[in-house]
């Protein structure tokens, strides 16, 4: 096997914090876990929050810090959504692993090594309800020797019995300052030049998701070399420039159907993804001051429908045209119902 080239390692992995105390912005969790490191006692945990806020990082870091590289393999079981995780896996693999007894707690080459194992279930919200139910008893039976870490985006998808057995921690989206300080650190390490405008753009387009920000940064660095402007970042991220969204909105405000049609045609020819347009259009409309609440509601409803249709595989041009026409009717106060329906 050829050695994996250094540059091919994603920066997301390269700059993943190795220790719990390096995890940014999640003070509560860090405090609890630092305590765990000292005493060695640890409840079942449930981490939830939006993507890219450090949930997996924290879970892996605490596991590494507790057991060290030698024992890690035998003490930690990591399962994520891409592994098969039906009810059979819960009944066999997880149960077998959970049932194994471990030696009493002695410090092992500088690591605390408490007398239990850890099972990390990443993306637990994609587990079926049956599989989650099967876990309930397992969790209690083997609670002496096993701790479970659940990681998920939506806590509502975890069944109540499981959630009540865990200590819950919410991971907050990262604030812009923390994002930019982390981005600047990576830029320094990688020898990149980012002006302040580009940093601000990067923080805003990634919307509190640090992983996405780092991925964009790496793509831009690969494509455009070491000095990156905010325009480069936008082109890599697939975000539609604000002018394009405004142009479509202006065309809708004008009340001229043919103008809107032309804008939509142009938009499709430029190759932007329509689903992205819908979310950016929503943002622009919600934030606009000169649109009444009723108009906003009408447009938002249409946007939601169109998004669903796009997911079903409908044609981008037709859906976007429909959205544009509905937006225009809302903005120009034309009636919502069609006049000539029989």
């Amino acid at each position: 096997m050829a050695p994996v080239l250094q540059s091919s390692q994603p920066w997301v992995e390269k700059y993943r914090p190795k220790q719990v105390k390096d995890v940014a912005h999640q003070d509560e969790v860090v405090r609890v876990l630092t305590n765990t490191l000292e005493t060695g006692s640890c409840p079942h945990m449930l981490f939830y929050g939006p993507p890219g806020t450090g949930k997996t990082t924290t879970a892996l870091a605490i596991a590494h810090q507790l057991f060290g590289p030698e024992l890690y393999k035998s003490r930690v079981l990591e399962l994520n959504a891409s592994d098969d995780r039906g009810i059979n896996v819960v009944r066999t693999k997880i149960k077998d692993f959970a049932a194994v007894a471990v030696g009493s707690g002695q410090r092992h080459s500088g690591y605390p090594c408490p007398p239990y194992k850890i099972i990390v279930l990443d993306e637990a919200d994609s587990m079926t309800e049956d599989a989650q139910n099967a876990l309930r008893r397992t969790m209690e039976t083997y609670s002496k020797v096993t701790r479970f870490f659940f990681i998920c985006n939506y806590i509502s998808r975890i069944i109540e019995p499981l959630a009540s057995r865990c200590a819950k921690f919410r991971f907050k989206p990262l604030s812009e300052e923390i994002m930019s300080s982390r981005i600047l650190y990576i830029c320094k390490e990688e020898g990149l030049h980012l002006d302040s405008e580009a940093t601000a753009t990067l923080s805003s387009i990634s919307q509190g998701d640090l992983r996405r920000a780092i991925t964009y940064l790496q793509s831009a660095a690969r494509l455009f070399g070491s000095s990156i402007s905010s325009k480069d970042l936008i082109s890599v991220s697939g975000v539609i420039p604000a002018e394009v969204v405004q142009a479509l909105l202006a065309a809708c405000k004008s009340g001229n159907f043919d103008l809107a049609n032309k804008e939509v045609n142009n938009f499709i020819a430029e190759g932007y993804p329509a689903s992205q347009m819908l979310s950016q259009l929503l943002e622009a409309i919600v934030e606009a001051d000169d649109i009444s609440d009723e108009q906003k509601a009408r447009i938002s409803k249409k946007l939601g429908e169109a998004d669903k249709f796009l997911v079903d595989g409908a044609d981008e041009y037709l859906q976007l045209l429909d959205v544009a026409s509905c937006t225009m009717r809302a903005l120009c106060n034309m009636p919502e119902e069609f006049s000539y329906e029989s």
Binding site: L5, F257, A269, D312, G313, L318, S339
Partner: protein
Amino acid sequence: MLWVDKYRPKTLDQIMVHEEVAQNLKKLVSEQDCPHLLFYGPPGSGKKTLIMALLRQMFGTGAEKVKVENRTWKVDAGSRSIDIELTTLSSANHIELSPGDAGFQDRYIVQEIIKEMAKNRPIDTKGKKGFKVLVLNEVDKLSKEAQHSLRRTMEKYSAYCRLILCCNSSSRVTEAIRSRCLNVRINAPSEEQIVKVLEFIGKKEGLQIPAGFAARIAEKSNRNLRRAILTFETCRVQQYPFTSKQTIPPMDWEEYISEIASDIMKEQSPKRLFQVRGKLYELLINCIPPEIILKRLLYELLRKLDAELKHDVCHWAAYYEHRMRLGQKAIFHLEAFVAKFMSIYKAFLIATFG
């Protein structure tokens, strides 16, 4: 050889339309490494040309020696094994295929072929690259399951192979895949760029192009470069030397649809609907994709309508296209759209003229 193929740029340096993208790609592969790539853009914008040029840049002229193979895979799917047949284009360093052709079995194809590539890798002599490239066309047609299994495979085998994905609309590619690739947006060339390319071809062929002629072709082409070049060649066959008044032949199916549109406008009755249905069938038999028929029909109708009706009509077009996507038989939905249009238009006429 058609001009489209004859004048297709072979290297990244020859590319005329997306020069900036081409230069960036060249920089990208010069460092002996390349991330997974996702190219997206409207048809005829040059995605494929860029990919071929990129492969040549990576592997030298060897990438051009392709062979077409019709292969059969035996796949174990749980309890039974299925045979899947698919046409692939391959060279020593890359394999190209359209997994969408396998229908709902596309999931197995993607996994199987990537595993196979991982097994027989090119040997790493004299610092050559130790990976192969898999080019997947039309990933937007892949089923959701296939895309999910792709995301795992992409990470697992990233040391052995690089994926180049190519699609029209990136909305239909899942976020998980998009975030693992370097996304490259290819926009459709502007009309000036098309004119430039046409003039370049004209010069190479030694043709005299009257002023404004190329611009007219470009305008008709809808910013689709492939179509512009094809039309240009058609004009050359029909009449040479060119005159500035020469008509540019429209596609026959487009003319046919515009005929249907004027039929619908003239009379709204069940009898007319029946006639239109026959014409729609004619188009479908000739392999015109139903969504293209619907879009073109909408375009023709919008041109003839009053402004207040346009909103209704475009809403219903979007509505029936969505239904068509969910359903099985396209003709029902096309016909439903026509019937809906007739009813709206009739109501409008009665309301206006009594």
